[in-house]
């Protein structure tokens, strides 16, 4: 296994480079961005120029700076959502996988969660609460956990049937021991795939919600950039305004997808 992990496909490295690069741009936004993206640094709708490489937006803010800061938001939200939802999924999945009583209750809850239309929840919540970044993270996490929780549960159930778990039980292993020593290590591929999927989904959904104006438009994110840009489509500013944002979203999602596919392919090969 240790030797195998070094042999990763080219897709993985492309994906890692993309995701890592964008992450770096986001992290270094305060240093890379030529302006404070909230300050008015030009006339509204300025075309690209030396002062504003991508021009300015409707509020006279520098689009390039917005792009960096927006990436930061998108990445923060997606990473936080993926981490939070997978953590939640892990706890629920393990509880359900380990205890039949908890399983019955939790599966009901999961079914209930899955049957609720997500967008409706967002709209309802956004009516009464400002969907700022922390709230968005919590809300997305709450929507994202049931599916991986189910996957984790079924992975645990199948691990439970493994002979090596039976063997450990034969030595008198407790549920706690089995969970930490056997169930969780066996979850690695599921967790990884779930994490990457949620990263991807979070980037998309955050952008989508912001685009629709459901989330807080004063937050600089790729979605809010699209939200504002879409109001001025007739001004023909898509090349310097929409295209860079769309490219950002596309490349991020592509990066995550490539990593996910490479890892998934590897685990399939490993099992064969």
């Amino acid at each position: 296994m240790s030797r195998k992990s070094l042999r990763l496909s080219r897709g993985f490295w492309w994906g890692a480079a993309l995701a890592g690069g964008i992450l770096l741009l986001g992290l270094l936004a305060p240093w890379l961005a030529p302006y404070n993206p909230w300050n008015v640094t030009g006339q509204p709708f300025e075309p690209p120029s030396r002062a504003h490489l991508l021009g300015t937006n409707d509020a006279g803010q520098d689009i390039l700076s917005e792009l960096f800061y927006g990436g930061r938001t998108s990445l923060t939200i997606s990473l936080a959502v993926a981490a939070l939802s997978m953590t939640l999924a892990l706890f629920v999945g393990i509880a359900a996988g380990v205890s039949p009583v908890a399983d019955r209750v939790l599966m009901r809850i999961i079914d209930a969660f899955l049957s609720v239309p997500a967008l409706l929840i967002f709209l309802l919540v956004s009516v009464h609460f400002s969907l700022n970044v922390p709230r968005l993270i919590v809300l997305l996490s709450l929507l994202f956990w049931p599916q991986p929780a189910r996957m984790i549960r079924s992975q645990i159930l199948s691990t439970r049937a493994e002979k090596y778990v039976e063997a450990a039980r034969g030595f008198g292993a407790t549920t706690g021991y089995l969970t930490f020593r056997h169930f969780i290590p066996a979850l690695a591929p599921v967790l990884l795939a779930g994490f990457l999927t949620r990263l991807r989904m979070a980037v998309f959904i955050e952008a989508g919600l912001a685009f629709l104006g459901v989330s807080d438009p004063t937050v600089k994110s790729w979605g809010t950039m699209l939200h504002f840009a879409s109001q001025y489509l007739y001004l023909g500013c898509w090349a310097n305004w929409i295209l860079p944002v769309a490219a950002g979203i596309f490349l991020t999602v592509l990066g995550y997808t490539l990593i996910g596919q490479a890892l998934q392919g590897r685990s399939l090969r490993g099992e064969a």
Partner: protein, 504 residues
Amino acid sequence: MKKIVRWGMGAFWLVFLVLSSPAWAKPLNIDRYVIGDRKDWGFPAPYFHYPRGPGYLRMSMVFDTLIWKDAKGFVPMLATSWRYEPKRLTYTFDLNPKARWHDGRPVTAEDVTFTITYMKQHPYPWIDLSHVAGATAVAEHRVVIQLTRPYAPFLEDVAGSMPILPRHIWKGTTPQAIDRKKAGIGCGPFILKAYDAAQGAYAFAANPRYYRGTVMVKSLRFQKVNDPVFALLRKDIQAAVVPPEAGALLRRKGYTVVSSPTYWVLKLLINHRRSPMNELRFRRALLYAIDRKLLVKTVLHGFGTVASLGLLPPQSPWFNPNLPKIACDPAKARELLKAFPRPRPLTLLAPGRFSRAAERIRQDFGRVGIRVTVQTMEETAIDAMIQKGGFDLALSGHGGLGGDPRILNDVIAGDFLLSERFTEDPRLNALLKKNLEAMDPKKRHKIVDEIQLIHARQIPAIPLYYPMMTVAHDGRVPWFYTRGGISKGIPFPFNKDALIRKKP
């Protein structure tokens, strides 16, 4: 990605339309005319439409009032003539005997007295009848309305705004219980044919027996559209309010584009009952901190003006031009804020559509050391929080500034949803009271000037800007701007009188 494809297709359509654009004709009779809007505004009947301008506008196509306004002022509608008798505090209206309900029954003085009684019993949010004692039908087509006290805005607020209800339909029923099909029967120039709330679609047909003249549009529709500019370019609609920024493009495409004052103001509501906003010094600091010029430039892109601190816009005949004009001065703001070391962070409630303004205010306040957290939410939720007083700062706007200055009473101290609820200044309270009673225009002017001045000095809210309204249409209908806005100041040009060729 789908969006981009759609935009791309839109762009293609745009090119296609430019190439295939025909020469616009101006026929006298129009078969079909669609006005686009971004929302649904409720069933077009009294009590059922949403209590905002566009909702009233749709209702007004079906229901007529006693009098109406055109570009110059009051014109007859159901009432052919009217007169005020100050001693008796009565208004007498002579009704047009040709007026018929859509079901064919004649409109009589009984309908008017019934409407007043009914609306006093079942308050209709658009009309305030607290100053009306009652009405008497003195003849089949003559009605006398008795006021309880002098009430200056009566003609505009009641006679020019109150839709007359058909007594034979509404009698004995309540707005909750009435049959929806019958509730749509009025005596206006259009007959309601269909309404679809989900689609935001209204279909009106010309009333062939309209008592005031010929209705020029056979089928008038209001239709919800996602993007009015593209809808216009696609010829899905013939008229719509459009973003001012699109004006140039549409003009190039041959549309008639008219900009006009909206009599609408965006205000920064300040919860002056909470600390530290309860101190005038702090409110003044806020005023100095905001760069309202920059706001007009970046949020309105120049299509608007910085608001007068007295609320009424320069276009209003009641505008006070001698108010202090305060420009952005961060240094001054910081100076004033020295009395407030470490002010607590403030929350700014903002509907999504004002998020750019919220962003700017956050930046401006941040510049002088006031931390602001923006919370964007649905407008109705913000309205509710404003009403409960559960806020620090809020962005909220209202119209009605073009009409009777009674609006100042509503928005400064009244119980109106978005009122500033400023009742701390006794002098202002007295002036507001007088404002409603002064029947002498000269006297009233003085009062209104004073009210504006006090508002500018006390700053219970900061008027930010007056946006312009831009309407684009295909030019076939001679839309015009109603003096002071339709009814109590609705700023749209879609006055139904523009569709009627009046009988001489």
